[in-house]
Amino acid sequence: MSQTAATTTVPKLTKAPTGLALFFYRIGKSFQTPTPYLTIFGVALWLFTWWLLCEGLKVDRFDKIPGPVAVSKDLFSFTPFQGISIFTEEFYNHIMVSCRRIAIAFAIATGVGVPLGLFMGWSRRIRDYAFPILETLRPIPILAWVPLSILMFPGFEAPVIFLATLASLFVTALNTMLGVDSIDEEYFRAAGCLGSSNWDIFKNVVVPGALPFVFTGLQISIGVAWFSLVAAAMVSGDHGLGYLIVDSYMNNVTVPMVIGMITLGFIGWFTSILVRMLGNWLMQWHVKALALQGR
């Protein structure tokens, strides 16, 4: 009976990776699970199905819609067959116009909606007066406002921006108000004990306390703003991605139509991420607390 005790070498403890190294570490680790492979498979499957239906087999009716090959051919070429690629100025014009409208609408809606929501949440009186009006107007779908907005505002830009602002405003104000409601009563009491004036409470409890809900609302509201913008631009407009889609359809050039759709999706997603990142930056305490809870 040999007594060779296996000498196990205890691995030296290295520092936990941070920053960029952590990012790569996580990616590396995830590739050891089936998840990313399945993701790639899923996306590939979808692309393949799209290609198959629209270009490969040219199934009836599907063949009128451009497939991934046609779209990417145009998108990445210097002389796109149907007029729009990442190298044409027109493409970026449309994008800029849409983004500018969103920026204005979002800014106004947030600038008005957040204070309105904060006051409605904080003061029973203000809520009693303002909330019923909002709730009466809110069920009216944004698109029902299109003809009226054309009457109210001159030109093309103003009605479109008005519609996106309106949609965004409702969401922002409501979510902000809910945010204030969600603040635990005890924080108000603690602040009261500590000798705060009403304004102190507003600044130090209401505003920071509502922020998480406010940012959730802002993420939703930017999505809603895009939705309304596209709708409005389709109905009446002469620039922008919504217009691009409808115009291409009218002129029977389907590739820019699809390009427009994809671009819209991408920019919408991107702006939503921007809002979320802004929120995380402003709410360090929330992010850290969530991280420690393992979420």
Binding site: A144, T254, M261, G265
Partner: protein, 290 residues
């Protein structure tokens, strides 16, 4: 060790307050009266703003509001349009489209969402394409849909379906995944089968999210139906729907009817949301305690 403190000279006679009747509570509700006052003031301001140029001359027209028909004119137009069958046909058409698209979205969306939530491999494969398509606003699909589907009706139905589908799936997925894992463990330790887990824990646990998704999806459905009706002209066979009603009024220069249409759609949407909420309350009695 001391005993209870000596009774002091302030003898308190507790008074039991009378129960207020439901009507009394309604009438004494300050919030209600403030709300009513706010709406009345809003209507008055609207009336004044719209009629300003009538009373004081064209140069005084208030920008924005001045061109809108005042509430009294709108009310008159509404009364006028109520007996006309065309108006009610529009209601019917829109409702038909909304409900068919919405129901389809629920029928396909709830199972899809639950599958995504329950099976990791399914989720890994099908969630990424779903998430890529989701940010595209449903209305961006309209022209593609018009090209693809043979009839207007079907293309409208497809868009309606899309609009609600994404929302419902996301809500169902979120709700199912948020079910506290302890409920599942408790059930398993009591000998539940996979099907039991699904039907008795996951399904009821997801119900609140299903209803939230339904409520939001319903709102989107109305938006989409309206847009589709406005863009595609609503189809000339039978009623074009409320969206067409509004657009037509605009084209025909009948401003009061535009507002009538808007309010009608608002009411329609509100009725649908309330219906969903009431069904939700009925299905989920435990939620009422909140």
């Amino acid at each position: 060790m001391t005993d209870i403190a000596q009774p002091s000279t302030h003898a308190a006679a507790p008074v039991t307050p009378r129960r207020r009747s439901a009507l009394q509570k309604l009438v004494q509700n300050q919030s209600l009266w403030r709300g009513i006052l706010a709406i009345i003031v809003f209507l008055i301001l609207w009336e004044i703003g719209a009629r300003w140029d009538e009373w004081f001359g064209r140069e005084w027209m208030i920008p924005g509001v001045g061109l809108i028909p005042p509430p009294t004119d709108v009310a008159a137009a509404w009364v006028e349009v109520l007996p006309k069958p065309g108006y009610w046909e529009s209601w019917y058409s829109s409702f038909k489209r909304v409900l068919s698209g919405f129901l389809m979205a629920m029928l396909l969306g709830i199972p899809f969402g639950l599958m995504l939530a329950v099976n990791k491999y399914f989720r890994d494969v099908f969630l990424p394409p779903f998430e890529i398509l989701r940010p595209i606003p449903p209305l961006a699909w309209v022209p593609a849909s018009l090209i693809f589907w043979p009839t207007n009706e079907m293309s409208i139905a497809f868009i309606t379906f899309l609009g609600a589908f994404f929302t419902i799936v996301i809500n169902v997925l979120g709700g199912a995944r948020n079910i506290d894992v302890r409920y599942l463990r408790a059930a398993q330790s009591m000998g539940a089968s996979q099907w039991d887990l699904f039907s008795k824990i996951i399904l009821p646990g997801t119900l609140p999210s299903i209803f939230t998704g339904a409520a939001v999806g319903m709102g989107i459905t109305w938006e989409v139906v309206l847009a589709a009706e406005m863009i595609s002209g609503g189809g000339t066979q039978g009623g074009g729907g409320l969206g067409f009603f509004i657009w037509n009024s605009y084209m025909g220069g009948s401003l009061e009817q535009i507002v009538v249409g808007m309010i009608s759609v608002g009411i329609a949407g509100y009725l649908c949301s309330t219906a969903i909420r009431m069904i939700g309350d009925w299905y989920m009695p435990w939620k009422r305690l909140h």
